[in-house]
Symmetry: C2
Subunit: 343 residues, 2 copies
């Protein structure tokens, strides 16, 4: 591996994506079954007629979830959603998941059962099989490793690097809800700790709480895209945040983008809650993450067709490389979309 020149660089300095790029630069692949390694939602492996997609994620206590307000059943459910969304994002069909679990010996059997019950529910709903994993004791909090496996026909594969200038930028659902749900849960937790409020006040915010604790994936949109014979030129699942994931596509496709402020779908609960917290709703929408929505691009020529699919909104278009990434206000003002660092 080529060593970096400045050895004492901290991880904060280089940032998560810088770190991944740096590692990826040094990695050479050699096996003829390896179609694509680091850099997309899933690795792509040639298995003869079709392609096998494999992805892996790590969910850590205190970073990805807080056991204080996350029921274990929901956590299991969400772990599966997280895994399979990487397969869907390549236009694939997930078939199997594996869960590696690290837990302290303080957990009891009922808790472990609740976690696996959530996994089972998600597996059933999305027609995937739990095919293995590992359970190990942990000294350092709960840890979940999710590996998912799927397949896609060779000519149906959609990667992150296929967007072209003038392509339309499309999304499903809405953005920022999961993040605001988390803020709300966190606020109520603090009230519980400080002021002994025993009943959290979550009324009227069921949607954002649901997006945070028990997200679903918009599989039906993929089905509709197939029905309308639209194959996206690029696609990603929005888990790091709309801005970050859009910029990933731009970077890998060598394009820039313009999206429109008023077109980014934001749910009413998200807006109302953002107002309570005194923040612009666009902030969680762009940078919140864990939306589990699809972000994809289609050729301009398919603008007519995409209107037929109600669950899809066009939020902007790709521009040529070097022209900058902007969010355009209603008054025509342009604000640059900042790249995200280490979170």
């Amino acid at each position: 591996m080529k060593k970096s020149e400045n050895k004492i660089k901290s991880i904060e300095e280089i940032g998560k994506f810088g770190l991944i790029s740096h590692i990826a630069e040094n990695v050479k692949t050699g096996n003829k079954t390896t179609i694509k390694g680091i850099g997309d939602d899933s690795a792509i492996i040639d298995s003869g007629k079709n392609l096998t997609l494999v992805s892996t994620d790590l969910l850590l206590e205190g970073i990805h979830f807080n056991l204080i307000y996350t029921p274990l059943k929901h956590l299991g459910y969400k772990a599966v959603i997280r895994g399979i969304s990487d397969i869907y994002a390549m236009n694939g069909t997930p078939g199997q998941v594996m869960i590696a679990l690290g837990i302290s010996s303080k957990f009891n059997l009922e808790q472990v059962e609740d976690f696996y019950e959530g996994i089972s529910l998600a597996c059933k709903k999305y027609h995937v099989d739990l095919v293995g994993g590992d359970i190990t004791s942990s000294l350092t909090g709960m840890t979940i490793g999710v590996t998912s496996v799927g397949t896609v026909e060779k000519n149906k594969l959609v990667k992150r690097d296929g967007a072209r200038a003038n392509d339309l930028i499309c999304v499903t659902g809405d953005f920022g809800a999961s993040f605001m749900g988390l803020q709300l849960l966190e606020r109520e937790r603090k009230l519980f700790v400080r002021e002994k409020v025993t009943q959290p006040d979550l009324a009227g915010f069921e949607y954002v709480i649901g997006k945070q604790l028990k997200p679903e994936f918009p599989v039906s949109t993929l089905t509709e895209l197939r029905k309308e014979e639209i194959t996206p030129t690029s696609m990603i699942d929005v888990t790091d945040g709309l801005a970050s994931d859009l910029l990933q596509i731009c970077r890998l496709s060598d394009t820039c983008c313009r999206i429109f402020y008023s077109k980014v779908p934001i749910d009413y609960e998200t807006s109302r809650l953002a107002e309570e917290f005194n923040i612009d709703p666009m902030t969680p929408a762009l940078n919140g993450g864990e939306d589990f929505e699809l972000l994809f691009t289609i050729p301009l020529g398919q603008a007519g067709k995409i209107k037929m699919i109600e669950s899809v909104k066009v939020i902007g278009h790709m521009t040529s490389s070097g022209s900058g990434n902007y969010i355009v206000g209603d008054d025509g003002s342009e604000v640059e979309i900042p790249a995200q660092g280490w979170k």
Copy 2:
């Protein structure tokens, strides 16, 4: 999921293997590409002509490794060995690995590079490609998720459940070395802390230290087995301990076993160190774990052929179900092999 009757059972009570069995009982698979789910070294997925094998492991700081005496380069190397050994154990050929890494922001770039350099070295040596993963910040120690992918021809697959009574029990290498290497490192760490001894005394124990910090996998034995046209009836990689992994095969194959005390291969350094620590060398050999050796069974009729392979030792034979699992002493005495619990 069928709930357990006694909800308050702790994880210690039910044990790791009890927990996995309990979960596996409740899991139904439904996809026609799922050939085998939970219960073997890897999941088996039908990908047309061949089978795709996928396995996943979780390595946690304080449980699977201690950063005080584990160089990050070795840790990366060992993570790959751990991943691919699950594929080899099914008589498959590993092609790809994915590494999901959780680290605190205190790590610097050089450390992360060292870790990935170890991964690269192992990938190169074993001809596998690093094809992806994830890097995430961790509040709770270093966490490594290893996913490995491989293939095997349908008629070459070896599972854990194929052993039959009278089959010979075969192993590669020797046992207990990795465990004793760990004990030695731990002793020297304590001396360092308590008595400010700055230079650890590891001379003469290079083999056991090497088995602990930078294990290799006996791939050449698999090649020789193929050359001699021996297809094992069952196989497992020894990572949980010889006794534990042998009993896994017995349980899944519905057989019992007899192994011979004097036949279990133990390296001279392991014996010498066990003596220093006042323990019977058979204890680490049977229960130590992380040996990264192969344990497999072959039909009695292939006894002549197996003698041709120098790297393989026959340590006993399978017996019929219900006859108990024993280790036989030189004097003919029989001691039951105890099942292992939660570690």
